[in-house]
Symmetry: C2
């Protein structure tokens, strides 16, 4: 039996996130069904983390154990014949038996995209948050820098989270603009539930002047969800990369 690690891409528009659910199409279920169709094995696929309904993935990592004799290089094309066009396996790699896509992550990167044009581009609408107002990029960049390093992110977490610690480290957080599209890219050692969407909503509030960039340290210290910005909608969010321990 081998442990296969997949890197996949998905357009989350019509999907209900990663985790298998009753009465909703999820990425985990589509992949497990594809493996079943391909190998006649019922496998449990471990994902690098949950994603909400509507969230996209540029490179999502997951793993599963299989007795299939399919070589790594043949796995992507074989699985892709069993998947809808919105989900593609980009790469398959046999890894050590103890590799675990969720527990072994050391860094994750998320990207969040916002389009600010008055009338949204229909081809970007499923893939960006349409926020038709002027946003001050320099203020957003200044605010993003305040999140770097280790902080308690309790104020940047959806209520009801059951975690033992709200402390996370942010390694980099960039804000760039290309025409009417603003892209946030944030890398950290882990993210709380809805944390990236709340960071995005907070930077937007900084960009439009509702929050002062230099109030971010105080807002973090307050641990008060009400002082951060809104939770940005899921369809602007992309799971972009994961890094694993050696």
């Amino acid at each position: 039996m081998k442990n296969v690690c997949l890197t996949i891409q998905y357009d989350g528009t019509n999907l209900h996130g990663w985790q298998r659910q009753k009465d909703a199409i999820t990425v985990q279920q589509l992949l497990e069904d594809a493996v079943l169709a391909l190998t006649q094995e019922t496998v449990h696929i471990i994902g690098c983390g949950r994603t909400d309904a509507g969230v996209h993935a540029l490179a999502y990592v997951c793993n599963f154990k299989t007795n299939a004799s399919i070589p790594d290089e043949s796995f992507p094309a074989a699985m892709n014949t069993k998947l809808p066009p919105a989900v593609r396996v980009l790469q398959a790699k046999t890894v050590s038996d103890d590799f675990h896509a969720q527990f072994d992550v050391v860094r994750k990167r998320y990207v969040y995209k916002i389009q600010t044009s008055t009338i949204p581009d229909v081809f970007l609408s499923p893939y960006t948050w349409h926020y038709p107002h002027k946003l001050d990029i320099e203020k957003m960049q200044r605010a993003a820098a305040h999140f770097l390093g280790e902080h308690n992110f309790e104020g940047f977490c959806a209520s009801g989270a059951t975690v033992t610690s709200f402390v996370r480290t942010i390694y980099d957080f960039s804000v760039t603009k290309d025409g009417d599209v603003i892209t946030l890219s944030v890398c950290g050692n882990g993210f709380l539930y809805n944390m990236v969407r709340i960071l995005a909503g907070t930077l937007v509030y900084v960009g439009n002047g509702k929050i002062d960039a230099d109030d971010i340290p105080q807002i973090l210290e307050s641990r008060d969800r009400a002082r951060a910005g809104i939770t940005a909608p899921p369809h602007g969010l992309y799971m972009a990369a994961t890094e694993y321990k050696e």
Copy 2:
């Protein structure tokens, strides 16, 4: 009563083309319903041409007569509140009473997009034809040049067309490549039913060597649909621009 000309954009993925139909969502119906909701008028909207199910539009022009007192500059935002995100009114302009979006067109431009990567990018899949094979761009450009000027396009038209003439003039036809995406852009005084999709399928056959670029003049002269390439799928096609007589 004024004659209002709209320029709209739409993502055709979940639409059944322009023309109103029973039991299918079409752009014409969505726009007529939006005008009804906005002005309580039942209008007939004239489009610049039919588009098939799945075809997109970057700038589609249509017009209708209305007694509404809404100023031109307020029309787009007002209509957009009544439309799904896949359809956006970009511009509204009061035009002369005799302007007709279909009959007055003098030039139209269509764009066709192809992605050639082995594994398709999920975010491009709804908007490109995935053709995972090497295509020779120079041969495609050479073939495209043979279509310039006035020709009888009977061999590049879906059967069952009821037209009085198959003669059309092509003013320009470019083939460009950006990474794994090939973009065809063709401008002419008019296009027969499925003509752009057959031109795209023919250029792909030239790109992969099934048709010789310099056989295009003979294929045109033959007026034989079987000698041209396949009809490329609708979701790579975009109605891109229309030009009207002064």
